[in-house]
């Protein structure tokens, strides 16, 4: 175990980007309105297999705030002690190579760690994303060792990209690959490393500044549109809370702690119940019908729709998934999967709404 100290040190060097640790974050429950966005983020927290959330919309609508707030909201998870990828001790198949070797020698020690929410800033370099040779050790001791990058740190957690539509192409390529396979392969500087990298991809951006490559678009399970509030009361509330937060961060966080705690409990409960939620065949059929009507490509749309509906039902403590759940998640699950129809002038949200209306009645 002599290596653990060094690893812990290196990890702690990497720690600062986990916002929850370093500085008070605007509480999730204090975000005004934007219900669709909040629901999508919560759903992806309840069932990470939904596959990420894309938040597209107007400037200054609290996109980044919400994602960063989610980090503080998530309950801690169990991880193998000393593992750089925060492997889950309860599942054997997702362990990294090091952990599976150690697991053969006896049960793994685990500890509770915060769910990583890793920020991928625009200016990041490729080596820091995939991981690279450990500079410090290479320079000081001449040892060739792998230093994990952001993809390693995001394992089992969330990878957040603000302004995802402005991300450099070569980084987008990397992400597309890893997000699909759940594994990061590093072949560089004479290193050959593979490690698990399963993360929930969260992107935000403003569509006016550029569009997203369809391949990357497809990696997001849900997509939501956020709009500037036009109601005076709502806007006043937004500014008021933001102002209060800025003037006394810890007091504001304390003020909302109860609601955040409550929300966290519901997410945890939702996760536990997820496997027990029933889904009637008729609901499955409705989902299929809706997807066919919209002409979405492949099965991904249907799967996401069903998973999201189940996560919602579970979060809301229902026993079975009802059509009403489908209805509510349909816009975010399908909106970004429609083929562009040049003859239809309405936006994709309106088209989904119309199809829902036709499939399930008013």
């Amino acid at each position: 175990m002599q290596g653990v100290g060094a690893k812990a040190r290196r990890l702690s060097r990497a720690e600062p980007s986990m916002h929850s640790v370093s500085r008070p974050v605007f509480p999730f429950s204090a975000i005004v309105a934007q219900d669709e966005m909040k629901l999508a983020l919560i759903s992806s927290a309840v069932d990470p297999s939904i596959g990420g959330v894309l938040v597209f919309g107007d400037r200054g609508t609290g996109k980044s705030t919400a994602v960063r707030a989610l980090a503080a909201l998530l309950p801690p998870m169990r991880a193998v002690v000393g593992c750089r990828y925060l492997c889950d001790p309860s599942t054997e198949e997702t362990l990294c190579e090091e952990c599976s070797q150690r697991a053969a020698g006896g049960p793994l020690k685990s500890r509770l760690v915060p769910v990583p929410v890793v920020d991928m800033p625009l200016g990041v370099t490729e080596d820091r994303v995939v991981g690279a040779l450990d500079l410090e050790r290479a320079l000081s001791q001449g040892i060739k060792a792998f230093e994990p990058g952001l993809l390693a740190r995001a394992n089992r957690g969330f990878l957040y990209i603000d302004e995802v539509n402005l991300l450099e192409d070569h980084l987008v390529d990397l992400l597309i690959d890893v997000a699909a396979s759940g594994e990061n392969l590093v072949e560089r500087e004479g290193l050959s490393v593979r490690h698990p990298s399963r993360f929930v991809l969260i992107g935000s951006g403003n569509p006016e500044e550029g569009e997203l490559r369809p391949q990357l678009l497809d990696r997001f399970g849900l997509s939501v549109e956020v709009k500037t509030p036009v109601e005076l009361a709502e806007r006043v509330e937004v500014i008021k809370r933001r102002d209060q937060f800025e003037r006394d961060k810890s007091a504001f966080v304390a003020q909302w702690k109860k609601r955040d705690d409550d929300l966290r409990r519901r997410i945890v409960a939702g996760r536990k119940r997820l496997a027990q939620i029933d889904m009637a065949d008729s609901v499955l059929e409705s989902a299929a019908k809706l997807c066919m009507q919209l002409g979405t490509d492949g099965l991904r749309a249907e799967l996401t729709l069903i998973r999201a509906a189940r996560a919602l039902a579970s979060f809301e403590q229902a026993d079975t998934v009802a059509v009403s759940h489908l209805r509510r998640v349909a816009p975010s699950a399908l909106r970004h999967r429609l083929r562009r129809d040049p003859l239809d002038e309405s936006g994709s949200s309106a088209r989904v709404a119309r199809a829902v209306h036709e499939a399930f009645g008013p």
């Binding site: 800033p121 500079l135 560089r188 403003n206 006016e208 500014i239």
Partner: protein, 601 residues
């Protein structure tokens, strides 16, 4: 933009709370007044507050920080170098030629403004440092098309325009360094009044001024104004001032109050006397404006306050702003055409503007970037066996090779859809052909591609697929005979298809329709004016939805509603040919293509 008279006041308010107010966008050509303003700001800021100037094309490594090459080689361990944003913590960063900032660089600055720190894993080092900076964006844009990225503007409280400033004008400081220091002491204690907050938000909504973030900036400016006055309570005058400085320049609609004094009159006064020395301090709202509300002050006090702020703000909306709004709207809708500003740039191997490096060995036309290669190799020297200081050779392996990436503007394709039907041929076919020929010559000079679609009789056909051959294009046009019906819907659809294909290839398409708009052949080839019109409108709407830059030239002898409706549906610029001879027409097309290309930059 604020009249320049506010310049001194803006400098004071900004100096009180640089990070809180985000910054100043200073629209001005190189101008003595601009330098004077920057000097004033320098004097107002505390002596220890850094003020750094950066060029618009600053590389990420300098902006955010990265590996310090020299120090790393010397000390045999990775040494991080702070970027400009971190070095300017608690101070101000001045960006020259900010209208040319790329969306990427702007986004990096935005994120520092949002969280007040730079946290970046870069080049093997982890950089985390606070960066509570205010930005001064020097905008030297000449037209509305050239401006600072809107995402950055959204985070800067103050917009100043010096272009109307007379060169002899002097900016008279309103405060001195000690005032600012005192105000900075008071600022954290300034209380937020809910009524003032509501008034600011209400005004922002009524003016359609920006996102919620802008309202928040206005609130902070109001607090800075109170602090500058040595008060801890927010008053109406603070809100009025903040609304005038922050919200009014962003107004996108006329406020719903009765316009007693037209904005032109009210503001040109201010603009005409930028030299007045008591320029900055908010003139008290004209009393006749706030007593004369068209909306009933039903909610009593708050509503009153709203209206006072609004009325005061309205008086300071710069001249011509409302008239310019439409222009801005169109330019904005055109700007969002195409894949946005980020999309239409194409990465190129060997030509264009350099934009960063990537790893890989130089092949073909790619060029090795020596500096970046050295930087990549530096950390590994010990590992690779360069053990002694005397051995001065640097060991470089293939992994270290870095090549420069370039970007160039995408090629443009101009698609001409020429109506050769009987109705058109009678009037204007010759003229249209003439215009297209002029344009072709122009396209040839710019190495643009052109495609020609002709429609007459039962169907539309691609007469000339996208080409650069001037000769072929000319010949195809010369051979074009007139006569027959007008299958407009088919023509528009084919044009849209061509445009779509071209966009997929990464080019920037522009559609030019030359027709009288009198569709009378439906898509299945049958006659029938009504069905044909409906189909044409739908096809036009599809083009509009796809946001292709387009131009609709109405060739009918008398411009009519048909053409205008189609142009509207296509989101195209509408030009009735009677107003334009061939040469004027060609000028028009050029400007549309340029706008499309520019917006796609």
């Amino acid at each position: 933009m604020n009249p320049a008279g506010d310049a001194a006041l803006v400098a004071s308010l900004f100096a009180v709370d640089p990070a809180g107010s985000g910054g100043v966008c200073l629209r001005s050509l190189v101008h003595p007044a601009r330098d004077q303003w920057l000097r004033l700001l320098r004097d107002l800021l505390p002596a220890d507050a850094p003020m750094r100037r950066i060029p618009f094309n600053i590389p990420d490594g300098r902006l955010l920080g990265g590996l310090d090459l020299t120090a790393t080689i010397k000390s045999n361990r990775p040494v991080a170098e702070r970027g400009v944003l971190a070095a300017a913590d608690r101070g101000v960063v001045v960006i020259s030629m900010a209208e040319r900032l790329t969306p990427h660089t702007a986004a990096c600055i935005n994120s520092a403004l949002d969280v007040g720190e730079v946290t970046l894993p870069r080049e093997g080092v982890y950089i985390q440092s606070s960066a509570r900076v205010g930005i001064v964006a020097l905008d030297e844009g000449m037209s509305d098309e050239e401006s600072v990225p809107t995402s950055l503007l959204d985070r800067l409280a103050f917009l100043l325009d010096f272009n109307a400033f007379s060169t002899k004008a002097l900016i008279t400081p309103e405060h001195y360094g000690e005032d600012i220091l005192a105000a900075r002491g008071v600022l954290p204690r300034v209380r937020t009044d809910p009524q003032i907050l509501a008034a600011i938000c209400g005004t922002a909504l009524a003016l359609g001024a920006g996102s919620p973030r802008v309202s928040l900036l206005a609130l902070r400016v109001a607090r800075a104004a109170a602090a500058l006055d040595g008060r801890v309570d927010l008053r109406e005058e603070d809100a009025v001032l903040a609304a005038r400085l922050v919200l009014a320049p962003r107004a996108t609609m006329a406020p719903p109050t009765q316009q007693e004094s037209p904005p032109d009159g009210g503001s040109s006064n201010v603009a005409d006397q930028p030299t007045s020395d008591q320029s900055g301090r908010a003139p008290d709202p004209p009393p006749e404006l706030n007593s004369d509300n068209s909306r009933e002050p039903a909610e009593g006090q708050r509503q009153d306050l709203d209206n006072i702020v609004l009325a005061a703000t309205q008086a300071s909306i710069p001249s011509g702003l409302l008239a310019r709004l439409r222009a801005v709207e169109t330019s904005r809708s055109r700007r969002s055409s195409g894949a946005g500003r980020a999309g239409a740039l194409r990465n190129s191997r060997s030509r264009g503007r350099p934009c960063g490096v990537r790893s890989g060995s130089p092949r073909g036309h790619e060029r090795l970037n020596v500096m970046e290669t050295l930087r990549a190799a530096a950390p590994w020297q010990k590992l690779r066996g360069r053990s002694t200081q005397q051995d001065s050779r640097i060991v470089i392996s293939a992994d270290d090779f870095r090549v420069t990436r370039y970007r160039q503007r995408a090629h443009t394709l101009t698609i001409f859809a020429v109506d050769a039907s009987g109705s058109s041929a009678l009037h204007r076919l010759a003229e249209a052909k003439g215009a297209v020929e002029l344009l072709l010559a122009d396209c040839y000079i710019r190495r643009d591609q052109v495609a020609v679609i002709a429609f007459r009789g039962r169907a539309a056909e691609v007469l000339l697929p996208p080409t650069r051959s001037l000769v072929r294009a000319k010949r195809s046009l010369a051979e074009l005979a007139g006569g027959g019906g007008t299958p407009l819907a088919a023509a528009i659809e084919i044009a849209a298809q061509l445009a779509d294909q071209s966009r997929r290839r990464g080019e920037t398409p522009t559609i030019v329709m030359l027709t009288d708009g009198r569709a009378n052949v439906a898509r299945d080839g049958t006659g029938g004016r009504e069905a044909a019109q409906v189909q044409a409108l739908r096809a036009a709407a599809a083009v509009g939805n796809s946001r292709f830059a387009s131009l609709f030239v109405d060739t009918s002898p008398r411009p009519n509603a048909l053409g205008r409706d189609l142009a509207l549906a296509m989101n195209a610029q509408y030009i009735p040919l009677p107003l334009a001879d061939a040469r004027a027409l060609s000028e028009m097309v050029k400007s549309t293509a340029a706008a499309g290309g520019h917006s796609a930059r």
